[in-house]
């Protein structure tokens, strides 16, 4: 734990791996592994361990659920950011390459047209400039539109934490909440737990996972990873 704070990730990972060999269902080892892999840019590992920790946490009813939920979302967000950065770099490189090739073609055409005269050379130059602009415009259009993507549907948002839902559970009234949030609410009022919306009595055992909504949220997040920390 101290080494996690000291950022000695490698030795943290070694410790936790050893720990997992001894007790494969240690939520804490999975959670710490996720925290150690994230700064090392092992995004997929970090996410896998966080998801495993979340699953174990739900099974055991451990009170770390809010923190682990946050960790899963953080992993998803960083993984998405990394993919985006790479994709962006690749497309802009491709664009530069294509433009460079076209510029070479243009220079060659200008060199070959030795008998075209000044006016002819200007025509060739203008023609190539127009072509290059067209290609740039096409790349521009292919770029994702930031503002278009920045809308998170209300159905994916938990009304308690206002966060994106990862593991929604449904109450008897038909409304879904993030598991970590609604558990926190019901535990605080454990002597008289009630539905936040209708105020009807509501036990933790009344909650059911909302699998369809969970899948819809996961699919939205796969295409819109930025929403993870919305």
């Amino acid at each position: 734990m101290a080494r996690l704070k000291l950022k000695q990730w490698e030795s943290v990972i070694a410790d936790c791996d050893a720990c997992l060999k001894l007790s494969p269902h240690s939520m804490k080892a999975n959670y710490i592994l996720s925290q150690a892999h994230l700064p090392l840019h092992n995004y997929q590992d970090a996410l896998d361990y966080a998801v495993k920790a979340h699953e174990l946490c739900v099974q055991t009813g451990d009170r770390s659920l809010p923190n682990i939920t946050t960790q899963v979302l953080r992993c998803k967000k960083e993984k998405w950011d990394d993919q985006e950065k790479r994709r962006e770099r690749q497309t802009s490189e491709l664009e530069r390459e294509v433009v460079r090739m076209m510029e070479r073609e243009r220079d060659e055409a200008l060199r070959d047209a030795t008998d075209a005269g000044d006016a002819g050379l200007q025509d060739i130059d203008a023609e190539w400039t127009a072509k290059i602009d067209t290609v740039r415009g096409i790349f521009e259009k292919a770029r994702p539109k930031e503002e278009q993507r920045r809308v998170v549907p209300d159905w994916a948002i938990d009304d308690i934490s206002f966060g994106f839902m990862l593991d929604p559970v449904i109450t008897k009234s038909g409304k879904s909440y993030e598991r970590a949030s609604i558990l926190e609410h019901l535990k605080r009022n454990h002597t008289d737990p009630r539905d936040p919306l209708t105020r009807d009595p509501l036990q933790i055992s009344d909650l059911r996972p909302n699998l369809d909504l969970k899948q819809a949220c996961a699919e939205f997040l796969d295409e819109n990873g930025w929403a993870a920390d919305w």
């Binding site: 809010p66 206002f162 605080r188």
Partner: protein
């Protein structure tokens, strides 16, 4: 529950508040995630509150929104404490919604303001709660620690 939870949720509430607020509610200050101030006005012609603006102070703990915020009216040179049988003259509000048992985490700053707005709109009694003077003189507790007795649900 970590303080991060409260901060994140308040950040989102603030973003929404900056975008739009219902008529008669205005944000005055929200420099941190511990204390915000808002002004509210009653929109109809209730003679008790006509042409008056009232200042509300919200204080958030690290367990918000699992725990309710502490909400009081503040007295300023141009802001009075509204007359109401559930509002003490020191600004403390006795309302089920803001007490531990009446609070719900799906409530938010905007919905609390709207509830208080309609609590004023619907009131016709130009009076303070019973025992106001004594309460204001003797009370040293913070609003959330006071054990209110909700004896009258008609107001």
């Amino acid at each position: 529950m970590s303080a991060q939870f409260a901060t994140k949720r308040l950040g989102k509430e603030l973003e929404k508040i900056h975008n739009s607020l219902p008529p008669g509610i205005e944000l005055v200050s929200a420099e941190n995630f511990e204390e915000w101030q808002l002004d509210i006005r009653v929109l109809d012609n209730n003679p008790l509150y006509m042409n008056q603006t009232y200042r509300l102070k919200f204080r958030f703990g690290s367990s918000y929104p699992i725990e309710p915020p502490e909400v009081v009216f503040v007295k300023l040179p141009d802001r009075a404490i509204p007359m109401h049988p559930h509002i003490y003259s020191n600004g403390i509000i006795c309302v089920d919604l803001l007490a531990a048992q009446g609070w719900s985490p799906v409530q938010n700053v905007e919905s609390v303001c709207m509830s208080l707005q309609s609590m004023l709109t619907g009131n016709t009694k130009n009076e303070r709660p019973p025992g106001d003077e004594e309460f204001v003189r003797a009370n040293r507790l913070r609003p959330r620690d006071i054990d209110f007795y909700y004896d009258d649900n008609t107001v």
